[in-house]
Amino acid sequence: MRVYLRYAFKETFSNLWRNRMMTIAAVLTVAVSLSLVGGALLLKQSAAQASASWQRGTQVRVWMSSTATPGEVSSVKTQLAQMPIVKSCYYTTQLQDYNEARSTVPIDEFQALKVADMPTSFRCTPTVPTDALTVISTFLHQPGVLTVTAPVQQIREMSHTIRILQVVFLALAGVLLLSASVLILNTIRMAIFTRRREVSVMKLVGATNWFIRVPYITEGFIQGLLGSGVAMLAVWAFHVWYPLHNEFALDAAKVWGTNIVVLVVGAFIGSVGSAVAIRRFLDV
C-alpha cells in the first residue's frame, strides 16, 4: 500500500507537469465555466434575498374615517388581529397622523388641517405582499372604513419580476453547469486519449484497473480543485468589485456558501470526469 501511494502520488504530479498544457487547458475550462456558474448562483440568491426583504417591508394601510365610532374601530382591530395572513399591525392615532402629515403635505394645505379632521389608521404587514389584496377586499366596504391602500401595482410587478429573475438565474446556472461538465469531460478525455498507449502498456504488464485509474482520478481531482479555486477568486472579486446594492447586497456568508458549491462541483467533475473518461481505455 505504501509503495502504491508513493507511486500514485509521484505519477499524479509528474503527469500534471508533463502534460502541463493539458493541465492548464483543463484548469482554465473549469475556472471559466465555474465562475459563470458561481456568478449565476450569486445573482439567484441576490434576487431571492431582495424578494424576501422586500416582502418584509410591504405594508397595507386601513384608514378609518374621522367619523368612525370606537366600536367600528375596535371591530376592525380584532378582525385584523385574527387574520392569519396579517403578520403585525399597529394603530396610528389622529395626533400621530397629524404629525406625519406635517412632513408629507404642502405647508399651506397643512395649515388648514386640524387634528380632529385626521383619519386614524392601521398599518399592517401581510405575511406575503400579495395578501395585501385580500386585506383590501375584506375591509374596503366595512362600516367606518374610509379606504384601504397598498402599492398594488408594484406588488404585482415586483413579485412577478423577482420570480422570473430567480428562475432565469437558476436556469442559467444549470445550463452553465451542464456545458461546464461537457467541456471539462471533453478536455479530460482529450488528455487521456493522448495517453492511451501508456494505459495499454500498463495493462500489458499486469496493472489492475484501479492501479491505473487512481493517478488519473487524483489528477482530475487536482485540476478540478485548481480550476474551482480560480473560479472562487473570480466570484469573490465580482462580489468585492461590483457589489450589489440595497436589498440585493449579499453578505460574505452567502458568497462563501456559493464558493463552497463551486469547489465541490469542480472537484467532483474533475475526478468523476477522469474516471469516466478513462473507462473506455481500460476495457482491454
Binding site: V3, Y4, R6, Y7, R18, R197, E198, S200, V201, M202, K203, L204, V205, G206, A207, T208, N209, F211, V284
Partner: protein, 232 residues
C-alpha cells in the same frame, strides 16, 4: 504449460483468425510460430494474454482454463506472462530504468526490490550504462532489449514475443535471439511469432506453422518452410 483444445476465433467483423487449433506446449519449451502475414499468429498470442476470448474450445495455462477467469483476475494472469512486440511499446517519457521498474511497481514490489532487480536485468541485456536515457535516445536494437528486460524482470513463467526482430537488422536480431535463448534456459517457456526464416532455420526448435488460421505443421526440430524431404 500451455494447452489449446479445439480453439477457434472469429473476429466480430467475421474474419476467421484461428480454426480448431489443438496443441500442447511444455514448460521450458522454445516454440516458433510461423506463417504468412494474416495467418493468425498475433491472434494466437492475444488469446494467451486474454486480450481476446476464443469462440470455441479452451485454453489452459499452468493447468487453469483462462476463459473461466473472472475479469478482475486477468491482470494477475498477465503478471506471469512477459511480452515483447515488434514496435517495442516502451513508455516514451520514462527513462530506461523507469520503463523496466514500471513492471515491478505495477505488481507492488517494494522500492528495495526495484533498486536491486532493475540494474541487474539491465546489465543482463547489456544496457547497464543507459539506464537514465529515454527510449528515443536508443537504437532500435537497444529499445528492444529494454522491452525484453521489462518482460523478464519479474521472472514470468511464459514469455511471448510477436515478431520481436521484425524491425531490427540481423546483428540486433541475433542479440535479441541470444537473450531469448538465455531466458529460455532459465526455464521460461518462450513462444515467438516470426517471419525470420534464417533465424528459425538456424535455431532448430519446435516450429508451429499456421496457414489462414489452421495449424498445418507442428515439428519438433523444424525449419521455417517445409522443404522437400524434410517434412515429417
Amino acid at each position: 504449460m500451455i494447452k489449446f483444445e479445439n480453439v477457434s476465433k472469429t473476429y466480430k467483423n467475421g474474419t476467421p483468425a484461428l480454426t480448431n487449433i489443438s496443441l500442447d506446449i511444455e514448460k521450458g519449451e522454445f516454440v516458433f510460430l510461423v506463417g504468412a502475414s494474416g495467418s493468425g499468429k498475433t491472434t494466437f498470442l492475444r488469446l494467451l494474454l486474454r486480450e481476446e476470448l476464443p469462440d470455441q474450445g479452451r485454453i489452459l495455462e499452468a493447468g487453469r482454463d483462462i476463459g473461466s477467469l473472472p475479469k478482475w483476475r486477468v491482470p494477475y494472469l498477465r503478471r506471469n506472462i512477459g511480452c515483447v512486440f515488434q514496435d517495442f511499446r516502451l513508455l516514451p517519457n520514462k527513462t530506461v530504468f523507469e520503463n523496466v521498474a514500471f513492471a515491478l511497481e505495477v505488481i507492488g514490489r517494494p522500492r528495495s526490490t526495484v533498486d536491486n532487480q532493475v540494474p541487474q536485468i539491465l546489465d543482463l541485456v547489456g544496457l547497464g550504462t543507459k539506464s537514465d536515457n529515454l527510449p528515443s535516445e536508443l537504437s532500435g536494437g537497444e529499445q528492444q532489449r529494454v522491452a525484453v528486460a521489462r518482460a523478464f524482470v519479474n521472472r514470468p513463467l511464459i514469455l511471448l514475443a510477436d515478431e520481436p526482430t521484425g524491425n531490427l537488422d540481423p546483428t540486433n536480431s541475433e542479440s535479441i535471439m541470444a537473450l531469448l535463448e538465455r531466458i529460455n534456459r532459465t526455464g521460461t517457456t518462450v513462444v515467438m511469432a516470426t517471419h525470420d526464416k534464417a533465424l528459425v532455420d538456424r535455431m532448430r526448435r519446435r516450429v508451429i506453422e499456421l496457414d489462414r488460421g489452421e495449424l498445418i505443421r507442428d515439428q519438433v526440430r523444424g525449419v521455417y518452410g517445409v522443404e522437400e524431404g524434410l517434412a515429417i
